[in-house]
Symmetry: C2
Amino acid sequence: MADVAALAGVSSQTVSRVSMDLDNVRPETRRKVLDAMAELGYSTNVAARALRYGSYGTLGVIAHRLARTGESRTVEGVVEAARAEGYTVTLVDVESPSRDDVTAAAARLSHQAIDGLVIIRAETATPDTLALPRRMPVVVSDSRFVGHHPAVGADQLDGARRATQHLLDLGHRTVHHVAGPIDSGPAQMRAEGWRATLEDAGREVPELLRGDWSAGAGYELGRRLAADPEVTAVFCANDETAAGVLRALHEAGRHVPGDVSVVGFDGIPLAEHLWPPLTTVVQDFSGIGRALVDLLLQQVRDGRILDDVHTLVPVELVVRASSGPAPGGSRPGG
Amino acid sequence: MADVAALAGVSSQTVSRVSMDLDNVRPETRRKVLDAMAELGYSTNVAARALRYGSYGTLGVIAHRLARTGESRTVEGVVEAARAEGYTVTLVDVESPSRDDVTAAAARLSHQAIDGLVIIRAETATPDTLALPRRMPVVVSDSRFVGHHPAVGADQLDGARRATQHLLDLGHRTVHHVAGPIDSGPAQMRAEGWRATLEDAGREVPELLRGDWSAGAGYELGRRLAADPEVTAVFCANDETAAGVLRALHEAGRHVPGDVSVVGFDGIPLAEHLWPPLTTVVQDFSGIGRALVDLLLQQVRDGRILDDVHTLVPVELVVRASSGPAPGGSRPGG
DNA sequence: CGCGCTCTTGTTTACGTAAACATCAGGGAC
DNA sequence: GTCCCTGATGTTTACGTAAACAAGAGCGCG
């Protein structure tokens, strides 16, 4: 900046005024300064500006597996919402879902220049094990942090209930469930919604099959389901798992939805183009991202730390060809 | 820091020494300082440290649609590689692929605290329209920037050639292609590899079908392909497109691979669990991320700006059930 | 017993910016 | 013509950290 000032023959304060595009600077002076800036390839030093202002215009995000559907779409939603508010996003990926890793990630972030922190998936970490800088605004989309930090999440319970009820309404005697990993909050809630719906309807609750969100696990477990002629309806914890189940059913020669109906969760773009097109519970990821950023910026701007807010974002059941009437007396073989 | 120093009864410099965990500080003094830090919830101010050091420990990333396969997996690769080098990543999403948007993104990033910039997808922007701060180290994974900034990319041409050749080797007379959007460099190169392979083999080059990376476009174009009995082999610009084509073929009652073989590109995790499992060209996204970060950090650390490096990351053809022998005389109807 | 070395801690300074305050010139009102 | 007000620009200072330098204490060796 001093160089620019010298070249333009003005004081550094005038350069500052021009670069902020504020105040009153004579057009001629402004011109000289802009020319000098261009000539020297000057751009303002962010560190100094942040030091002066005490804020960075940046939000931190902790996610687990970035390339996974839910994560990447939530991150995208956060990035979009942050951009709309004039903030950029700094990303920290947690390699393995271990406590130490998340703590390390938070520590790394706390050494980064951020004004607030979005925890998209904290996995095994708990509110206590996260050693965050005091007064750091935080929001989470992980249900286990409800009551400790303000939380935003899709209405997992409602989605699972609607998916399960949809299958019951189609006449299926009961519904099997391929769940997500046991240490995932959303996976727990989806399983819970499934179980509660069956119990409310007075139906038998089949043994839960434990997956891990992956299509591979869906395929392996799907082979067991395909081998059981009693199975006519499967609710999967996410769409990838459902894809694996569909493949296993195809391989076993079981027709979908003639013999078995399948429902997924998440609403990935590919769901509509699986074979057959997948009935699924669609999450509004960009809505979640927006809600997260709103809640975080409220805290950042007011300097006030909220803790007991929990925003539920509604989900929507989209019915496609993968779910149909239970195989009845009219069509025993499909 | 001054508060900590006062509370601990030492100078701020001693606090600095403790927080850097360097130099020689008497254990007793260190203890006092650490206690004071804990009591006050102190953590070092990054802006000040960055101002002092002139670096931020952060890399910037410009991407287009974050949730799209290629983007999110490349970003994940970059984030992982950056973490391994002790850097975090600041993300800027470009809303629409317009020149202004990318320029605005770069401007926004240049006002952020970054040591270098990774352009994953610059879309319509050109090297000239990107008003980057002088001496900002840059790497790109966009082929149009080759010669201006060091570039890293999968060997698209080779991948497309191998996919096409694979189908010819199976006895197909020719291969149809559902391409990516016309303004995408990788889409161009995949189409080029396809065309060159057919020409080298002296085969007829069918009209190219213009998609947009989406499964929906694949589905629409796939319906046209399904209606044409001459079509026996389709090479799709990416796996999502291939999923749409598969669906269209299923709906039309054409068997895969009995009647028509389909090959994708990217190697998304779901490819293996589509029906039938998809033959595809697998890209090493984390390898690309690593190469990008390596190349960028070379420049960041040496303060030297490279411009004519172009790293090609090899791809791998993974053959699955979706591609098979051309329908011959032995099996006219599937 | 004193000199000098080492180990620990304190003081000064600079990083680049922008707010607060100071200064100066010009023009309008009386 | 003088005073005051306004608008443009310069000067001083502070943000929090860490390097460079300075200073003081303790100890060994001659």
